[in-house]
């Protein structure tokens, strides 16, 4: 029998590129003829010759009808009507939205305008925004309409759209999508269409395999509010991808072996950041899924560095620094990075110090802006050998000078989930390389090291104790695991997951009588908790309480009717009670669901043998 392990992690969602230029249908837009040098004095900068190529390449994919830009920039007239504004926002580097400084490690799909292009736009506006010779104007790029990757294999659409009020502060809303699939499927690409792109600042997909988030809806399909949500996930779920959308994002097909698993009953939760527009807006997101027959073979992992416990920022403090350092226990290839802070975040940096002492900047955002947060994918995977120290350094501004400060006048701000709280998070999507499988799944080595690191930093970190316990349990260190579960339960005595974990560890340690009270406590907190019913059923079987066990497996099956193991265990419990006919039905059904369940087959044969 399998005892289920769960890992608690900040939910995360998958790597979508931020490619803008990729929509330009293969036609490489040449940089302006004069991009290296400002145009010579004698010939004025013209839209047709000099400016249109910049606009078409770097602005028009969003600034066109149906996209995120609030107005179109497709013609001379469009651009002329916003000329000074364009000069100002490009000069300030507000547009195109690209926060990181240039660095040695290049990001894919960088949207940063070269200095020379910014200077050229300035000059064009100063000279009166001249149109120029129509013959100089290159044709408009051909943009892909509709789904960027073609018609998806499966389209999920929110049934009840959200009506975004015309005014008020930004809204954080979660839409729940049920995935109507009958068997486990592998997804190679996810395209997020967030509804009206003009009002959605960003969106993240989280995978909910247990239907846990639905409990937060006032009625089915209504969705629920909240900026940061946590979803309990299986180990390394959702297959360690970051599913992210922001204006300009173009969906990204994962390389072979990096598919995302979806099971029957899985929900996808779209966490959105919405900005009121001045009038009521209907927000009705949809998600397109593209399947692959190839299951995941690679073992990527999301490493989440954080130091929220250090966030206690006094009012007026202009430069509040939080750091963290984590030493990699295995060699990895770094694929992508996703820094996250709220409105006080000012200067965000992450760097790696290699074992040979080389220091490499992983990302530096000197002007953090939550509204433009993004997942950044590296152009090439970054090699970080075992022993590399990954460091983060975030600076926060809680003074009146920070216009985005949620408090006026400034107030003490601590770490937390609300947008008025602060965060210090950094996700790294890594692929372990050159590992010795004898040391175990490298992701578990990483997870255990990270959990240990977090416990050391903050003994009050429930998730860290829990995750450490789960990792210790997974590699058979039951005594140590029990110690960590105990520490986690001291922090949250009623937590269903931790109680279930404790129960499961005691079962593994062959102490079913001790496990029972924890499993009951888990079920008291969460009555429809499949794992706890299943584990309690197992505990009761071990104590020869077959009737009680059968009831627990039936309750488990009410939650997951298609679970072959619960079905088989129900059959086995009934067999122990001598109810052979019923037992046979359940064992046969279990084998129908999962013909590879060999112990169920053995039990069925044994049953037939005994009946004869």
């Amino acid at each position: 029998m399998i005892l289920r392990l769960r890992i608690l992690a900040w939910p995360l969602a998958v790597l979508a590129g931020l490619a803008m230029a990729a929509t330009l249908s293969g036609r490489q837009v040449a940089g302006p003829a004069s991009s290296a040098q400002p145009a010579p004095q004698i010939s004025p900068v013209t839209f047709n010759r000099d400016i249109a190529p910049i606009i078409y390449h770097s602005c028009a994919s969003c600034h066109r009808p149906g996209e995120a830009g609030p107005f179109s920039l497709l013609t001379y007239s469009d651009v002329k009507k916003h000329a000074r504004q364009i000069a100002e926002v490009t000069q300030a580097r507000t547009m195109p939205p690209w926060l990181p400084e240039p660095q040695e490690l290049k990001f894919a799909d960088e949207m940063r305008l070269p200095d020379a292009q910014i200077a050229l736009i300035q000059k064009w506006v100063e000279q009166g925004a001249v149109e120029g010779n129509p013959a100089d104007l290159a044709p408009l790029p051909k943009f892909t309409e509709g789904w960027r990757l073609g018609e998806p294999d499966l389209i999920l659409k929110v049934e009840k759209p959200l009506v975004l009020p015309p005014q008020g502060t930004d809204t954080y809303w979660n839409f729940i999508f049920h995935v109507p699939i009958e068997k486990t499927s592998w997804v190679k690409a996810v395209e997020i269409r967030p509804g009206d792109k003009r009002y959605v600042h960003h969106a993240n997909i989280l995978v909910d395999r247990e239907g846990l988030t639905r409990r937060r809806e006032s009625e089915p399909g209504a969705g629920f509010g909240g900026m940061e949500i946590r979803i309990e996930s299986e180990v390394f779920d959702p297959d360690s991808h970051l599913l992210f959308w922001k204006p300009g994002t173009v969906p990204y097909v994962e390389p072979e072996g990096m598919a995302l698993r979806l099971d029957k009953g899985t929900d996808l939760v779209l966490n959105t950041h919405l900005q009121p527009s001045g009038k009521p807006e209907i927000i009705q997101p949809s998600i397109g899924l593209y399947f692959t027959p190839h299951p995941a073979t690679k073992l990527p992992m999301l490493l989440q560095l954080e130091n929220d416990v250090k966030l206690d920022i006094p009012p007026g403090q202009k430069n509040f620094v939080v750091t963290d350092e984590f030493t990699l226990p295995v060699s990895v290839a770094l694929l992508a990075i996703y820094p996250h802070a709220h409105y006080l975040g000012k200067d965000i940096q992450a760097f790696a110090t290699l074992p040979d002492g080389t220091r490499r900047t992983l990302i530096h955002i000197p002007g953090w802006n939550l509204n433009w947060q993004a997942v950044y994918r590296y152009e090439e995977p970054v090699s970080l050998p075992q022993g590399t120290v990954v460091s983060l350094r975030y600076v926060y501004d809680n003074s009146e000078e920070n216009a985005l400060n949620p408090n006026h006048p400034p107030a003490r701000v601590r770490g937390g989930n609300r947008s008025s709280d602060e965060m210090c998070h950094l996700w790294l999507q890594v692929l372990p390389v050159d590992y010795d499988i004898a040391r175990g799944d490298p992701r578990m080595v990483l997870q255990e090291a990270l959990a240990r690191h977090n416990v050391g930093k903050n003994p009050g970190d429930f998730e860290a104790h829990y995750n450490l316990a789960a990792m210790l349990q997974a590699r058979g260190k039951l005594d140590d695991a029990l110690g960590e579960y105990t520490a986690a339960l001291r922090l949250r005595p009623d937590d269903a997951t931790a109680n279930n974990g404790m129960g499961a560890a005691l079962l593994a340690a062959e102490q079913p009588d001790k496990a029972t009270p924890y499993l009951l406590a888990a079920l008291k907190s969460r009555p429809d908790y499949f794992d706890a019913h299943y584990n309690l059923g197992y505990a009761l079987i071990s104590q020869n309480d077959f009737e009680g066990a059968a009831m627990q497996f039936r309750l488990a099956l009410q939650v997951h009717p298609e679970d072959a193991k619960a079905e088989a265990n129900l059959g086995s419990a009934l067999a122990e009670m001598g109810r052979f006919a019923e037992a046979k039905t359940h064992l046969e059904r279990a084998l129908q669901i999962d013909p590879s369940l060999s112990w169920a087959r053995d039990n069925l044969e044994e049953l037939n043998h005994r009946r004869n």
């Binding site: 916003h82 504004q85 506006v125 527009s277 216009a403």
Partner: protein, 201 residues
């Protein structure tokens, strides 16, 4: 009343912007028919004079564009202030983009739930009289026709892409209150953040 010479000009940070330094005094003292003839139109295409129907109220001209996301986001604020001062101040929405048709403006008013009269200002007559630079900005005129305030509604926007969770100044509200009691507006020229009207010339 503030003598017009006392209108304060803020130094401007962006070198790309042309600085209009002097304020022509005469333009700011409006005759009753002074600016109607300069080309503002109502949505039926008739010459319109915001003062003519003000009935002794003070006048607030609010410059907006249908395609300016910042002035769009201000719609509820503009509605709220105009309702709050309905008895004492006549609000007008002024659309300075000559390409915005009466039909597109009418649709816009419906979409945003505006209950304010609207004017087109294709030749920027009202823009010039009001010293408006961006949408949204507001000009407040006393019942005597004098420009008492021009500039932002409040400080919600710090710059493009940087909006406060809520404004911490209420410039238009302050200006209306002062103008109603005949007091000088303390800060009578505060540049707004928004879409440049000069881009429409």
């Amino acid at each position: 009343m503030v003598p017009q010479g006392a209108l304060r000009r803020r130094p401007r940070s962006s070198p790309s912007l042309t600085l209009r330094l002097c304020v022509p005094v005469l333009l700011c003292i409006l005759g009753v028919t002074g600016y109607a003839q300069r080309g503002a139109e109502d949505l039926e295409g008739r010459q319109a004079d915001p003062r003519a129907v003000a009935g002794g109220k003070i006048v607030a001209l609010v410059f907006v564009r249908t395609d300016c996301p910042i002035s769009n986001r201000y719609a509820p604020t503009i509605q709220r202030l105009s309702a709050q001062y309905a008895d004492k101040a006549q609000f007008w929405l002024v659309f300075p983009d000559k390409d915005e048709t009466p039909a597109s403006i009418k649709k816009y008013l419906r979409d945003y739930g505006y209950k304010l009269p609207a004017l087109r200002d294709p030749r920027h007559a009202l823009v010039k009289l009001s010293l408006a630079h961006v949408t949204p900005e507001v000009a407040v005129f006393s019942a005597g026709g004098q420009l008492t305030y021009h500039g932002r509604i409040d400080n919600w926007y710090e710059s493009f892409g940087h909006a406060r969770p809520a404004p911490t100044t209420h410039d238009l509200d302050d200006a209306l209150r002062a103008t109603l009691v005949g007091k000088a507006v303390a800060q009578n020229d505060v540049r707004g953040v928004g879409c440049y009207i000069s881009d429409l010339e």
